[in-house]
């Protein structure tokens, strides 16, 4: 394999990795407040992509308006999902009902989406043209910078939010011990509510950003959930830098195993490495606490 090819695989690995990282970040926020893994996270991405494509390509809204409207719509769906499905659930220490509830949400979102949009994929034009940038013979699509920029913005905001704001600290407190947090005057249910809106927002943004590369399709939700969850676990569930790292690592492994070994074995190799990581460090690369049950 030549240097150019290697560089090409690294570029595409980082691009796809950034997307996985965005999904993983969405997982992280909800997990940090509720200890729930939200199986509808990938569907937020799918909705973001579908809405953005609909607003831009079908209704011909300006780009910024289409993207913000799509993010807003997905955030609203996250809000409705929390209010209707999660909010009134009885406290279940095993989280079984809550996790299954997010699966239920995923099924409902997918079912409604297919009724609304049908099975055909929608396309969205790239934000700043399609002219690829050449570096050492390898090409890079400009949309990549939008995605990378988006994820850096989200990550910096999240780190600041969880470290330095009262609200962020309150959210973290909820995940560590709900009762203790409540007795310190933190509105636990309110924090959970917020975390769903935040992660839906991030998912929606991710969807709008990737749609020009992957097209907006209905089946991307399940794949995104799977990859994002994997990335979050590789990085260490609950860690913001871990989610980013996990996403990039997963993307790179996939792209490189695609190039070096064979595209058919891509998923098998990436997931074997995941299992290996879990064997060696069960709490993920950046994970510190061991999560039980």
């Amino acid at each position: 394999m030549t240097e150019t090819q290697l560089l090409q695989f690294i570029f595409s690995g980082i691009t796809i990795g950034c997307i996985y990282a965005l999904v993983a970040l969405g997982f992280t926020i909800i997990f940090n407040t509720t200890s729930i893994v939200n199986f509808a996270q990938g569907d937020f991405v799918m909705l973001g992509a579908m809405f953005a494509a609909t607003f831009k390509s079908l209704f011909h809204f300006p780009l910024i308006m289409a993207v913000s409207l799509s993010v807003l719509s997905v955030a609203t769906i996250g809000l409705i999902m929390e209010r209707v499905l999660i909010h009134s659930l009885k406290d279940d220490p095993r989280l079984f009902a809550s996790v299954m509830m997010t699966m239920g949400a995923s099924i409902i979102i997918n079912a409604i989406s297919i009724l609304v949009w049908g099975a055909d994929p929608l396309s969205l034009e790239a934000f700043s043209g399609e002219t690829p940038i050449r570096i050492h013979g390898a090409t890079l699509v400009p949309q990549m910078f939008w995605i990378a920029g988006g994820i850096f913005l989200v990550m910096i905001l999240l780190v600041i939010f969880f470290r330095f704001t009262w609200l962020g600290q309150g959210m973290l407190a909820c995940s560590m011990n709900k009762d203790a947090a409540a007795s310190m005057g933190i509105n636990v249910k309110g924090m959970i509510f917020l975390s769903f809106i935040f992660s839906a927002t991030i998912g929606g943004l991710g969807g709008a950003l990737v749609a020009p590369i992957t097209m907006a399709t209905l089946d991307m939700g399940g794949i995104m959930t799977l990859k994002g969850f994997t990335a979050a676990i590789i990085g260490g569930l609950g860690s913001v830098p871990g989610a980013f790292l996990g996403g990039i690592i997963l993307g790179l492994i996939e792209a490189l195993s695609c190039g070096i070994i064979s595209s058919g074995y891509r998923d098998a190799i990436a997931l074997s490495i995941l299992v290996l990581v879990l064997m060696l460090k069960p709490s993920g690369i950046m994970g510190s606490k061991i999560i039980r049950k």
């Binding site: 893994v37 499905l85 009134s88 659930l89 009885k90 279940d92 095993r94 079984f96 009902a97 996790v99 299954m100 509830m101 699966m103 239920g104 949400a105 099924i107 409902i108 997918n110 079912a111 409604i112 297919i114 009724l115 399940g222 799977l226 969850f229 994997t230 676990i233 569930l237 064979s262 058919g264 074995y265 998923d267 098998a268 997931l271 074997s272 995941l274 299992v275 879990l278 064997m279 069960p282 709490s283 999560i291 039980r292 049950k293």
Partner: protein, 313 residues
Amino acid sequence: MQRKILPFLGIVLLIIYPLWLNEFLVSVSIITGIYIVLLTGLALFLGYGGQFSFAQAVFYGLGAYTSAILTTKYHVPVIAAFLAGGVLAGAVGYILSAPILRLRGYYLAVATLAVCQIFHVLVVEQFNITGGPTGVYDIPIFSLFGFEFKTAISYHYLVWVIALASLLFAKNLMNSRIGRALKGIQSSEEAAMVLGVNAFNLKTKVFVLTGVTGGLAGSLYAHYVSYISPGNFTLELSIWLVVILSVGGVRTIMGVVLGAAFTTVFPFLLGKYQNFNMLVFGLILVLVLKYMPNGIAGFLEEQVFRLVKRTRI
């Protein structure tokens, strides 16, 4: 007295009712029986072990492929291939349990998820053995000591005998030392370990059981439909099994039966409104989770219990 009569009536009903069914309904009933076998082990692992496993499609696939390949390529008698499917799936479950069952909760879930995807890729890519995306076809029908289960009705009885046997086995297991230890693990693994329960060992046993039942179910399926391909054994199936178990109810035998019946009967219930299948299913799942924490079976049991209590007083 009542306890003896009810199961007896049930069995009599099971023997008679297929005779009135048309061909289509018999096939639905056969698939339901296969799903019951597939779900019993998983229900124990999920309901009593309290752990998610998304690896059930792996065992199902292992059983189906083992049986299919042994009978088509090596002309092994079906009954031997059937047993080999169960044994191999159980063995793989045992090998997997060493690294995987040390993990808990989400980490276990994602590890099983990974195993499921890896299995799927291997089945597609190792076409010399599995036939790749085209799968294995012309799988012979089930036969036992020279008797061939040619008619759907006869196969129906075979499947349901195995389904009932696995249900009975699970029920007896739950009332044994292993079952009580499992319940202990579920409420607190640490406490159970202090009381002398080897949690890892126990989970391994249940996981192997999930493997064996999954493998047997896979073999039954392969010999029924006579054609299998990687599309039958996907991660979606694994996830689906967990979902339907939580609709049926994970902690009761009835829950397994309801879950199995639900998954086979449901697609036909809405008739011409099939487009709304998944939407209705999602709504049912959500409502069950919200109002019936122990699934439909748990809910029904509570109602019957309440009724009995009222009539006694």
